[in-house]
């Protein structure tokens, strides 16, 4: 009872802080800028927050974090927009959304896709906030159990998603994954400090930027495909068919995938701290495994948008738990926020909840408010965005080219990145011609670097013994999940074989 009373007084305190006109304004500015930042490829939430730091110097700590957090989760909303409309991911956590989002747009269903992304983000964002409020310190405690071995096993389990990204041929998907894993080895090796495959080029020392490759493989590739079909494409439009809003059937499919995306995203991104991009991939794989409509994924299924978009928002909210309760940043963006908070003279970490209640609860309240604002802001925008599709296809292709070049250049101010992007556009086109799926490359890059790093860290800790992966319970459990995911398509066959072997009646 006492606990509850205390809890409600904290909630009231939070809304008191977040509800002042000035903080409401900052929250709105944050989520609005965040949406814009998410929509524009290249300017990620990390750059957005970093550039605002000088501004936060003069603000109260609570106001500063309300603004920065708004940008962070706002970007997760906006990132899906260009993925769906023009096959160009606005930030790294929205790459998977391209797969089904753009297919939906091609079928004239961009409206429901955008709406599903917005609502899914809202549900997941609110859920993550709720978890932060109720169980923050407890979740943070579990997060600490994720050392390098657990992380490696999680990544390995994530890699089983590849079977779900395969088109018709698993071999081709594996080829594509290996290519991605190979690319992931480029750059300075963190475990030895030795540069690999950099050819003495300083710009290759950090490896290939994942978003550069993704934009080449998806966005530019789409342009090339349309160029090849130039004759028919010139006057074609991706016009809207049907309503902008979800139908009854859509809702029925939306709800379960949204719940799965939220929970898996919160686990992978929020608890384990593997980041929003990994979370979105895992969610997509999960849909492919358990959704009733798994065969439609890849051809414009609403689950392929809802799942990943819910997952990346749940992950973003989750990584704020790491920042606030542990004082440890779970992502690049929260790392910058940590720096900014230190500058304002505030120390995130275990003491924050007791020492600065108005700060913590103000932030939590502002996240509820911000998520509602984002929903209200984004749903009407759907009508505006889909108008963009009402131009002839050749004009849309020009948009894509402009967005891609602008986005990739602003990431690192590097011209070389533009060449790399074009190169991957060509690679993507060639792969499409021989029917090799491109998405596994992205998966390989996202997981490859982390997987290698975590495996080698584990082995240094264990003095080279592989037992470390199976003697730790969480790690063992994740490996078991990976095993189940890989073998599950063959269970029926094995079962049939076993029955036949023992002379039982063969199954129909």
């Amino acid at each position: 009872m006492d606990f509850l009373g205390h809890f409600w007084s904290n909630v009231a305190l939070g809304f008191g802080v977040a509800g002042t006109p000035f903080n409401l304004l900052l929250c709105f500015v944050g989520v609005f800028l965040g949406t814009l930042i998410g929509v524009l490829p290249g300017i990620g939430p990390m750059t957005g927050v970093a550039l605002l730091i000088p501004l936060t110097f003069s603000l109260q700590p609570a106001s500063a974090i309300i603004l920065m957090a708004g940008i962070y989760y706002g970007a997760m909303y906006g990132g899906s927009t260009t993925s769906i409309l023009v096959n160009t991911p606005g930030e790294s956590a929205s790459v998977v959304t391209c797969l089904d989002g753009y297919q939906m747009a091609k079928k004239g269903r961009a409206g429901p896709a955008l709406a599903a992304a917005a609502i899914g983000s809202f549900v997941a964002g609110t859920f993550a906030t709720l978890m932060l409020m109720l169980f923050g310190p407890w979740v943070a405690g579990i997060a600490l159990k994720f050392g390098p071995p657990e992380f490696f096993s999680l990544m390995l389990a994530g890699l089983t998603v590849v079977t779900s990204l395969a088109g018709r041929s698993l071999v081709k998907a594996l080829f594509s994954t290996l290519f991605g894993l190979a690319i992931a080895t480029m750059g300075i090796d963190n475990q030895s400090g030795v540069p690999r495959f950099t050819f003495g080029n300083p710009e290759l020392m950090d490896g290939l930027e994942f978003l550069t490759v993704a934009i080449g493989l998806f966005a530019l590739c789409e342009v090339f495909v349309n160029l090849a079909n130039m004759k028919d494409a010139v006057q074609e439009r991706l016009s809207i068919k049907g309503g902008l809003w979800l139908t009854k059937e859509d809702w029925k499919r939306f709800i379960p995938s949204c719940i799965r995306g939220t929970l898996s995203g919160f686990f992978v991104g929020g608890i384990a701290g593997a980041g929003a991009a990994v979370a979105s991939f895992v969610s997509y794989g999960l849909e492919k495994k358990v959704s009733k409509y798994r065969d439609e994924l890849g051809h414009g299924a609403i689950e392929g948008v809802t799942g990943p978009e819910s997952a990346n928002n749940a992950a973003a909210g989750g990584s704020l738990i790491h920042l606030l309760c542990l004082g440890i940043p779970g992502s690049g963006t929260t790392a910058i926020m940590l720096g900014a908070l230190l500058m304002i003279g505030l120390q995130p970490g275990p003491l924050l909840f007791t020492q600065q209640p108005e700060f913590v609860w103000g932030l939590i309240a502002s996240m509820y408010i911000g998520n509602v604002m984002l929903l209200v802001l984004n749903l009407p925008l759907v009508g505006m965005w889909v108008k963009l599709l009402d131009v002839p296809l050749y004009l849309l292709m020009l948009f894509i080219i402009m967005f891609s070049f602008l986005g990739v250049y602003t990431m690192n101010n590097s011209v070389q990145d533009l060449f790399i992007m074009v190169l991957f556009g060509v690679i993507g086109y060639l792969m499409k011609r021989v029917d090799i799926p491109a998405a596994p490359i992205i998966l390989g890059i996202v997981l490859g670097k982390l997987m290698e790093e975590k495996m080698r860290q584990s082995l240094v800790i264990s003095d080279g013994s592989l037992m470390i992966f199976i003697t730790r319970p969480i790690s063992l459990f994740l490996l078991f999940l990976a095993f189940v995911a890989i073998t599950n398509p063959y269970w029926k066959q094995i079962g049939r074989g076993v029955r036949r072997l023992f002379g039982g009646a063969p199954a129909a």
Binding site: M46, T47, V49, A50, L51, I53, P54, F57, A143, L144, K145, F146, G147, P148, I188, D189, N190, Q191, S192, G193, P195, T198, G200, P202, E203, L204, M205, D206, G273, L326, G327, I328, P329, G330, G332, A335, I336, L338, G339, L342, M343, I344, G345, Q347, P348, G349, P350, L351, N412, N413, S414, E453, Q457, V460, I461, D463
Partner: protein
């Protein structure tokens, strides 16, 4: 609406052209200043560059516009390559710290940093060695004794690859304490946060870290700082942390940050900056910024900085040759 804004833009462009044309040939500085941050926004180099930018602007010390440009990649390699392309350009500055020397010695950088024009050393930070609150190592000497006994069993972590600051800082101390740094077992993470998580999760024995990243944890008591690499004790939560010297290990480890001009900066520009930076570090705005960022002022003029760099290089060369990182 569109027409109007277009005319505006055109007007502004015209003004700019007129402005640069009229100021050509005037005394230094005659053009806008560009400060290169050889990393992404958010890191220490970026913060340094932006602080310089802000103070020069607020105190009206630079009569032309100033901008910071981020050139991330290769631990500073891309930024260094960029500033070398600006050879002889007096309106280019770059900020750097120990990796400038480390990455030159291990040949990650292909250019020779000595061609840069050192202008001033500005601030410094130190390393701390921390253990988890419930660690059996109560003092730094406990820890050193355990490392001495079995270096491989006492794993330590840091937020950067082997042969960079987090690793080298402890190697330097170990060497002074009579331990062969090659025997140490170091786990490299990509960021101080990850290293800290691993420590708190009980996966490594101790962590070598810059002070800023762990202050909050020291204050909260989740970790214990056993030693700091500064010459005198720090303030605030660090006031109870003994220095290496107090512990009988006669060494320090500095994470300095300084500012350089492009290679071949003119004598005139060098003199102008010597004067201006001296003014800058004396301003209230500068001092306040440092306090906010918890940076320790460590101003040295161009000559002092150049001498300091020479000493640093020698010390790193010794250490890195021992460890096999210098090539």
């Amino acid at each position: 609406m569109f027409k109007k804004s277009f005319t505006m833009v055109a007007l502004i462009l015209l003004l700019c052209i007129g402005f640069t044309a009229s100021s050509e040939g005037a005394a230094y500085p005659s053009r806008p200043l560009e400060i290169v941050a050889p990393a992404n926004p958010g890191g220490g180099w970026d913060a340094m560059a932006r602080t310089i930018n802000r103070v020069l602007e607020i105190e009206k010390l630079y009569p032309q516009p100033i901008s910071v440009i981020n050139k991330p990649g290769g631990g500073g390699a891309v930024g260094l390559a960029y500033i070398f392309m600006k050879k002889g350009d007096d309106h280019e500055l770059v900020v750097f710290s120990p990796p400038l020397i480390i990455n030159t010695l291990n040949k990650t950088f292909t250019q020779n940093y000595k061609e840069l024009t050192p202008l001033a050393k500005l601030i410094t930070d130190y390393q701390v060695f921390i253990v988890k609150a419930d660690s059996p190592y109560k003092t730094f000497n406990d820890l050193l004794a355990a490392v001495k006994k079995n270096p491989n069993a006492v794993k330590f972590a840091g937020g950067s690859s082997p042969g960079s600051m987090d690793h080298l800082a402890f190697c330097k101390v170990a060497k002074m304490a009579g331990i062969n740094p090659k025997d140490l077992s170091y786990v490299a993470f990509s960021g101080g946060g990850e290293a800290l998580t691993t420590l708190l999760g009980g996966n490594v024995a101790f962590v070598s870290s810059g002070t800023g990243e762990v202050l909050t944890h020291i204050q909260a008591g989740t970790v214990r700082a056993l030693a700091i690499t500064s010459g005198v004790r720090g303030g605030g939560p660090l006031k109870d942390v003994p220095t290496l010297k107090e512990l009988g290990i006669n060494t320090t480890y500095e994470v300095w940050r300084g500012v350089f001009g492009a290679p071949g900066m003119s004598k005139e520009a060098q003199a102008w900056w010597a004067n201006t930076i001296k003014k800058m570090v004396g301003t209230k705005t500068w001092k306040e910024s440092l306090e906010k960022l918890q940076w320790v002022p460590a101003y040295e003029d161009a000559n002092g900085f150049a001498k300091f760099l020479k000493e640093e290089e020698k010390s790193y060369l010794d250490l890195m040759t021992d460890l096999g990182f210098a090539k």
